[in-house]
Symmetry: C2
Subunit: 347 residues, 2 copies
């Protein structure tokens, strides 16, 4: 039964026999099986071919024994339907060829129809659901409004977010207009994923940590909250922001059944700050997966201990698993979390 | 008299008639006068030519009216004397051609003799001191042990600090050995700067925010503390780490008369957390200097108000001023801080 999945139970703060665990970017380059497919198919093509997306989604499920699958996709996919010209340069990050600079660019953005513009994601979700039915649940996801806005404006990764913040500071009404357009896209996209079969959704606000808490509150929080509020009820929402030790209370305020935290902050401190009425996800430093298994075990033990056995912890890394991670260490991590958190086992 | 400089008074938590202000990287590319020199001389040559270093140090003093000068230099300069092959590639960041990978590399590092290896910095300090005597004080600086170690290991800027953290996790004793070598270099370097005439020193731990609070406490704090403890007494120490909202209490514990904070965290919250027995420096978002003067004024007002008139605030940006900053906005910032913080003026 769906309500028996440890991952979903933990999302709702219910007791589980062990701590459920999955890894952000668990379908990725650290796996040989993934690299094999990637070597013959472009990244965007993989995303847009439901059979391939489903196949790489399943790879870590089989190899690692994680407690949830997450659909293979990219946070930038919904932008194409809005009229954004997106490319993943070989070996580099995403490049947007027509970044948005002003109000008139914003006015040209289109709304999307997920069942047309993103049918491949929905199709992949359906395939994966069939394959994992009765085993583990499937997570859908989207970039959060700020993170998508920052890509659209900067045209790719950014160091200082000068253009994004300049729009915020110089033309706040256009900023809010852009964010509202993104809010609607994300709501439609995530609700379509849920309709297609996603049993939980994660909102990735990867780059919002560049903002002051004051700016987050004024320019981001209302939008992330609007998105979360308009998602279909009963489906848990995980709200994750990298580098957000200064934003935790505000992120909680924006919403989510589960708040994801990175490795910088102590998990126990973070949970105390956001309150025990929400679940928490995290927070091993991804770089720890390059360390020997004994060191990994010590760190897993420390994180598990810091929860004091409280229900509602989902184990994860504090950010996506890194491409050069030794796969055997990822396997060892999952096994270690399960072993050390077993309720009737020995710690 | 030295004790009348508002900047130095604020470092020691004493009352001042207005809030002193300077800008990290205030001698830099956003100034036409700087670019003019830089266009004909390489960056490292500028650092190593005392007359030029003194000249660019003075440029913002004259143009902006800041309350302190900071000697023009680079945090990586002390590494060359240790045997590190350093280059500043045109248009890029620093490159180290012989990064350190293991214990045997660490054992090959040399100690430095600042009066020989870094005589040009000391000479520049002496020149500037003569020029600003009786006007404003001069700040010396160094990279902190972690930040220098991360450059030595990664060979330049890094995204995930995989090699640095891997050394920490896999060979902690070698890590501490490397840090001890750096501690001594930094102590000698800063004390030499003080002897040459620096009236305050800032320790830049620019990249330490990538660490968890737990790792900071075990692998960094003892070293930063050892450095600060062994500096000449009576000279205020500013301890700054970017992106350190999760580390503030530990950074305070490591030491410093002034703790520098970036723009992410609310200044009042930060000061409350570190305690009012230390002064605080910060924390306008450098990107706000791209905004219109009215917006800058609003933000300055908010930061000044948040201190509730408490003595011991030094106004600064939350990180270095950005190369494309309009210089007139930097000038307006200094004027605004002075005007709005005047004790007998009107806010």
């Amino acid at each position: 039964m769906e309500q028996d999945y440890p991952f979903l139970r933990a999302c709702f703060g219910k007791e589980t026999n062990y701590t459920p665990v999955w890894l952000m970017r668990q379908a990725g380059r650290y796996m040989e099986e993934y690299r094999k497919i990637r070597s013959r198919v472009k990244f965007l093509t993989m995303c847009k071919t439901p059979d391939l997306a489903a196949e790489v989604t399943m790879q870590p499920v089989e190899k690692l024994g994680v407690d949830a699958a997450i659909i293979f996709a990219d946070i930038l996919l919904p932008l194409e339907g809005m009229g954004i010209d997106l490319e993943f340069a070989p070996g580099g990050g995403p490049v947007i060829h027509n970044p948005i600079k002003n109000r008139s660019d914003i006015l040209k953005l289109r709304t999307i129809e997920p069942r047309e513009d993103l049918s491949f994601v929905l199709e992949a979700i359906k395939i994966v659901r069939q394959e994992i039915e009765g085993k583990i649940p499937l997570i859908g996801f989207s970039g959060a409004p700020f993170t998508l806005a920052s890509y659209i404006i900067e045209g790719g990764h950014s160091r200082n977010y000068i253009d994004t913040k300049s729009l915020i500071y110089q033309d706040p009404s256009s900023w809010h207009q852009l964010m509202e357009a993104l809010d609607q896209v994300i709501i439609d996209y995530l609700n379509s994923q849920i309709e297609a079969g996603a049993q939980a959704v994660q909102l990735f606000d990867s780059w919002v940590g560049c903002l002051s808490s004051k700016d987050y509150e004024e320019f981001v929080l209302p939008h992330s909250r609007a998105v979360i509020k308009q998602l279909k009820k009963g489906i848990p929402v995980i709200h994750f922001a990298l580098n957000s030790a200064h934003l935790l209370e505000l992120i909680k305020k924006a919403g989510g059944d589960v708040i994801g935290v990175d490795w910088r902050i102590n998990l126990a401190d973070a949970w105390q700050r956001i309150g025990y009425d929400v679940s928490i996800q995290g927070n091993l430093d991804p770089v720890l997966l390059f360390a020997p298994p004994e060191k990994i075990e010590l760190e897993v033990k420390a994180i598990l201990k810091s929860t004091e056995g409280r229900a509602g912890h989902i184990f994860n890394l504090g950010h996506g698993i890194l491409p050069k991670t030794p796969v055997e260490n990822a396997i060892a991590l999952i096994e270690t979390v399960h072993r050390l958190s077993q309720k009737d086992g020995q710690n």
